[in-house]
Symmetry: C2
Subunit: 341 residues, 2 copies
């Protein structure tokens, strides 16, 4: 489809535009040491590239900038592997050599490291609870009617929420219920809990508790998982330094989206394991039409449990960011697996 020279030119344009944020003209390309063609030749190729949709002109007589299609082609075919600098590696390593005992701590700090290293905004989705299994249930009464329900998972994750205790259940009933739940449901993945209550617990409850119906409702309330996902952010303000976000309204839209966890969750939700790059429209969200999101899943025991990601302008330092995100996601995976060997 594209000639070698066109590819080369596309690559130089993307590299240059990523670096300078200025439209790239034919003359400046011809000065590039890898290129030995005259400006006029390059102009012809640029015109072709534009016709094919890889480049755009901000206005009639200016240099070209890459289109989304241009970036896409660059990412898919022209990307040179990037060697992380010693400093970058060091920074990431530091995260894992700390005395880590807390999963959430690693996750949180990953967000900070990501944004510091890349100078873009970072988003990290906490380990999905889907994969984790119930380890223990606890009910701790606070008053006559209110108690705290605590769910602990095998990954050390703790969920808690308050529950109301129906007046028809006395404290020995509650104790019984909790015992039953622990007996029957430990080891069940969190996402199957609801189902398991009906199958495994309902019958037993009926045998042992008088106010059977209230007991069942109470059990369900106890095991309700509260927050499905935790989202951590880093360096949101980095976005403001990008020249493409000098328009206050753009930024505002973007920051508003950042305040809605659900949208962000959708945005980072992995389609497949490993690295994902979504450019502009591909994000399927108007506020992100000028953004690229690079994300990668991290795993626990070989199964993806969470996502780390970077949000920046489409004009993003792809090679470097991809390197960092990839490296860090693998690091987290390994750290998690080491943690609960």
């Amino acid at each position: 489809m594209l000639t070698d020279r066109q590819m080369l030119i596309l690559q130089v344009i993307v590299d240059s535009y990523i670096q300078s944020a200025e439209p790239v003209g034919s003359r400046s390309i011809s000065k590039n040491e890898d290129i030995n063609y005259s400006a006029a030749t390059i102009r012809n190729d640029m015109a072709d590239l534009e016709e094919l949709g890889y480049l755009e002109k901000p206005h009639t007589s200016s240099g070209r900038i890459p289109s989304e299609k241009g970036y896409r082609h660059y990412v898919d075919h022209l990307l040179l592997p990037h060697h992380l600098s010693e400093e970058e590696l060091q920074n990431m390593k530091a995260l894992f050599t700390k005395n880590i005992v807390e999963v959430e701590q690693i996750i949180k700090e990953s967000a900070t490291i990501l944004s510091d290293l890349t100078s873009y905004a970072s988003i990290v989705l906490g380990p999905e609870i889907f994969e984790s299994k119930l380890k223990q249930v606890q009910i701790i009464p606070l008053s006559e009617q209110v108690a705290v329900a605590i769910l602990v998972t095998n990954t050390g994750h703790v969920e808690n929420h308050t529950v109301t205790m129906p007046s028809t259940l006395n404290s020995s009933d509650v104790e019984k219920i909790v015992n039953i739940l622990n007996e029957r449901l430990v080891g069940v993945p969190l996402y199957q809990l609801e189902e398991a209550i009906q199958k495994e617990v309902a019958g037993v409850l009926r045998q042992h508790i008088k106010s059977y119906k209230d007991a069942l409702i109470f059990a369900e309330e106890t095991l309700q998982k509260t927050k499905q996902e935790k989202v951590f952010y880093g360096g949101k303000s980095n976005l403001l330094i990008q020249p493409e976000f000098h328009d206050i309204n753009k930024v505002k839209e973007l920051l508003e989206v950042f305040e809605e966890d659900e949208t962000i969750f959708d945005l980072l939700k992995p389609e497949q394991d490993g690295l994902s790059i979504r450019i502009g429209q591909e994000n399927g969200n108007e506020a992100f039409e000028d953004c690229t999101v690079i994300s990668a899943t991290y795993s626990y025991k070989g199964k993806p449990v969470g996502t780390i990601g970077i949000v920046g302008p489409t004009r993003m330092e792809y090679p470097r960011v991809i390197g960092i995100v990839d490296h860090l996601s693998k690091g987290i995976s390994q750290a998690l697996t080491n943690l609960y060997r």
Copy 2:
């Protein structure tokens, strides 16, 4: 010090500037129906007010804007009580008539309501754990060496973190330790825990556990309170619509500070109970020199346990925001007290 007329003029200027964000000229003041003096008279008073430091001129020939001192005087002496609109009251009421069982839920939603209602950014500091007392300690082993420690307080707050178990302690040791902690420390305010460990627990541990030193360390680790403060935000992007924050760099500074929880904590830390208004420099933080922070503490059993606050430009709708913050903080106090009667 100031004549009545000067006060009146200052008030009109502040009101007008708050509303329009435009410097206020003498002519437009003289048109105000409460004022029956000519523009020239007002000009004289304005010149005086400027000399006294209550007003400033952006440039030689323009209207005046209030200085920090001007706002301060306005807030201290000229503020007219503001009647909250039906809608505002309704919104806040809705928060409390919901079926609330979770303290953190109320706190979180307060942030959203505050920012929605005021169109400024809101910050809410979660109930300080200082005031709450230990209700129960739990250790749940995850593996040979790692366990989750769970602390429940009488306010339904749950803290959890992972701890490492020294290999010198076997599982029955751990059980003993936990029992001792529960026997001796329940009811102790969290902030006194460290002290109480030494006083109440150390001796008992020495009697019952062989590896006494490890046991003590383990106990300390278990009771370590992890996060002292939770901070919730709402409507940060609202700041962007204020004309004084059209300068990207200003905004960036501000948003950066918002990412440091400690600074924010200092900013909202109450000096005294009740309502606090800090204007510009009074915030003691360069990034906030053009901001006013209005905050109020909320209480549990008569003692302040947390803070809600609003960050906006110094040109803030003081009467309305003060009304809202005041009302909401009282509402939260009451809700908390009702919750654990």
